[in-house]
Symmetry: C2
Subunit: 377 residues, 2 copies
């Protein structure tokens, strides 16, 4: 397939729908996080599940990140192929095929993964032994997410002991991520949720100390709460990812006075064409469910507050224009802020990176592959 743009092209000439990075806003987001991390006791291990791009991961590492997180072994493979030396699969790795690929990666990079059940300790130890490597393993604990994870406290400590005793595994610490807390709207409730997570994590660390097990990594946190975990004195690796792009769902979070969260800018857009204007109240755009993830709500129409994206079908989006003073005209290209950046990025092969968005002459500075697009294994 032809790419939707080429370097040097004007924004107006990009084919649609396409995935646009506002490079200026993106770089400011990277710099904001770098400044925060420089002044924090915690490190940044940026989550690459958001961007799926070693090019972006390298920019995060150049600005101080200690490495990246991935959710899948296939993502980790692509990050290592793209020059990333330290990768944590912040997720369970289940089944022989996946563990074998992880063991293969451990020969060429610093990799770690998460475990939440004794059976996985035995499986992983067997594979690592066969590959002649030692695999770094964190115990994932459920600190509120209600997803994977061993129970904090004694159950997690027992699992850590099993890992420490497994000859081909190395106990590396705790994974204590509370995803749903990132999207709690009120800042005080968000803070209270993370404080409970911090407390459970701290209790587990104490139990591990009683067993003489040290946590080199205590990882978790996302864009909605990283400063709370960062100031906890308990977490030492923050796993924020979405801060590079932000999305419409994060825009619905209220933020505490003066918080860094409020400074992050939307840097990811879907460029779409108005392909039909059947009535005064309705515009149809060429970006629907195959161009935008709608699981966290519809996209926001950028800089056109009187137009509302109300409905997505497979290849179409419906904009309601009631009250719009400057309705988009037939053939016009407009930008949408995706409701949820991670699964939107996963729909595209290419980032069209634009310099000077908002100026008189925005242009395509680069095309970056979404290298781990579709890396779900």
């Amino acid at each position: 397939m032809l790419p939707p743009a080429r370097p040097g092209m004007a924004l107006a000439d990009i084919d649609t729908p396409s995935l646009i990075v506002d490079l200026d806003a993106f770089e400011r987001n990277l710099d904001r996080m770098a400044r925060y991390i420089a002044g924090s006791k915690a490190s940044l291990r940026a989550h690459s599940k958001t961007h799926k791009s070693p090019i972006i991961a390298r920019q995060q590492i150049e600005r101080g990140a200690v490495g990246v997180c991935c959710q899948k072994v296939s993502e980790a493979e692509i990050m290592v192929q793209g020059g990333i030396k330290s990768v944590l699969v912040s997720n369970e790795v289940v089944g022989q095929r996946k563990l074998e690929r992880l063991a293969a990666l451990a020969r060429v990079a610093d990799v770690a993964f998460c475990i939440d059940t004794a059976k996985n300790v035995r499986e992983a130890n067997d594979v690592a032994k066969r590959f002649g490597v030692q695999l770094n393993a964190l115990v994932e604990i459920d600190v509120g997410a209600g997803r994977c994870g061993a129970a904090p406290g004694a159950p997690a400590a027992r699992l850590a002991s099993l890992i420490a005793e497994a000859p081909a595994l190395r106990f590396k610490g705790l994974q204590a991520y509370y995803g749903a807390a990132q999207h709690i709207r009120a800042p005080d409730e968000r803070k209270a949720a993370i404080e409970r997570a911090v407390h459970l994590t701290e209790q587990t660390i104490e139990m591990l100390h009683q067993k003489a097990l040290a946590c080199e990594i205590v990882g978790g946190a996302g864009t909605g709460t990283f400063d709370i975990e960062g100031e906890s004195g308990v977490y030492n690796e923050l796993q924020a990812g979405s801060y590079v792009f932000m999305d419409a769902d994060y825009a619905r979070n209220e933020s505490a006075e003066g918080s860094l969260f409020a400074e992050f800018e939307h840097a990811l857009f879907v460029c779409t064409t108005v392909m039909s204007r059947p009535t005064d109240q309705r515009a149809i755009v060429d970006a629907g469910l195959k161009a935008l993830a709608v699981d966290s709500g519809m996209p926001i129409v950028h800089q056109l507050p009187t137009a509302e994206y109300t409905k997505a079908s497979d290849e179409h989006g419906v904009l309601a224009l009631e009250g719009a003073n400057t309705p988009p005209v037939y053939g016009e290209k407009i930008l949408l802020i995706p409701g949820h950046c991670d699964p939107t990025v996963n729909l595209y092969d290419t980032y069209v990176c634009v310099r000077g968005l908002g100026t008189a002459n925005p242009f395509v500075e680069a095309l970056w592959p979404v290298a781990a697009r579709g890396a779900v294994y």
Copy 2:
């Protein structure tokens, strides 16, 4: 990236999450539609936006389809590259770049597209003239969808005249698709909705006859209603697509006694692994928003009615197991029926085609590329 399977592999060895075609059910679905079409006055122009695969399109044509529909020029390019000779872009084609690509295709295949505004007539005529081709154009009319389309009757007839007068365009007929009607649950309401669409289409055809404009193609219909349009005597090309796979949303349609619709089988699955069993009531699977479209509801757990897929995050799915007699165990692979097949297919590079699903020894018979995955331009 490594593919998730290889031909000959047992179902149990396929990596997850992966997109599975039950070849036996799929072929039965193709045969059912072929039998219907053989006895119908209408033809099948199968919609390839569902499967995005020339391999599947060729099987539809071998069984009597007159060609395929696409929604995007990039899909049409891939269909033509894959040997399909007759392609209707059942959608507007807006902007010079897209029209140029369509004109290029018209040199090597029988292509047509839809128009709903006079401005597009001029644009398309100019491009076709420059390319030295004559482009086949249908007028799209809005018969209830509330999306694109000119108003039926006089406005559509005026547009058809403009096309007929444009030297590098050829007026080919009407596109009259009512997507939302496919998913009306009650069969009598579904029928009433399509009868209104048929009536509006018929009125428009009469106005065209008064202008001596003949409709070679009167196209529309989808899997939920194709037999209604098929028996209308007005539509002559049915554009069903989802019947090859079916999905959980279509399973929620009630069907009329003895209807063919009720015979179509689920033939598309996402194979997923139980990666965590943190509690008796909860299983976590490795297929989330990047492996499944949830816009039309959550997937159904195949052959495990006491397990309910309740929540999708980016890379995880939560199964509620209350009341489950045979809960899936850690490491077990299970099949999910996607809520919506089209955008689910668009997440994958490869169909893993399984023969003998439901028998003692299901195995991978073939891998088919999802050739037009990501073809959104």
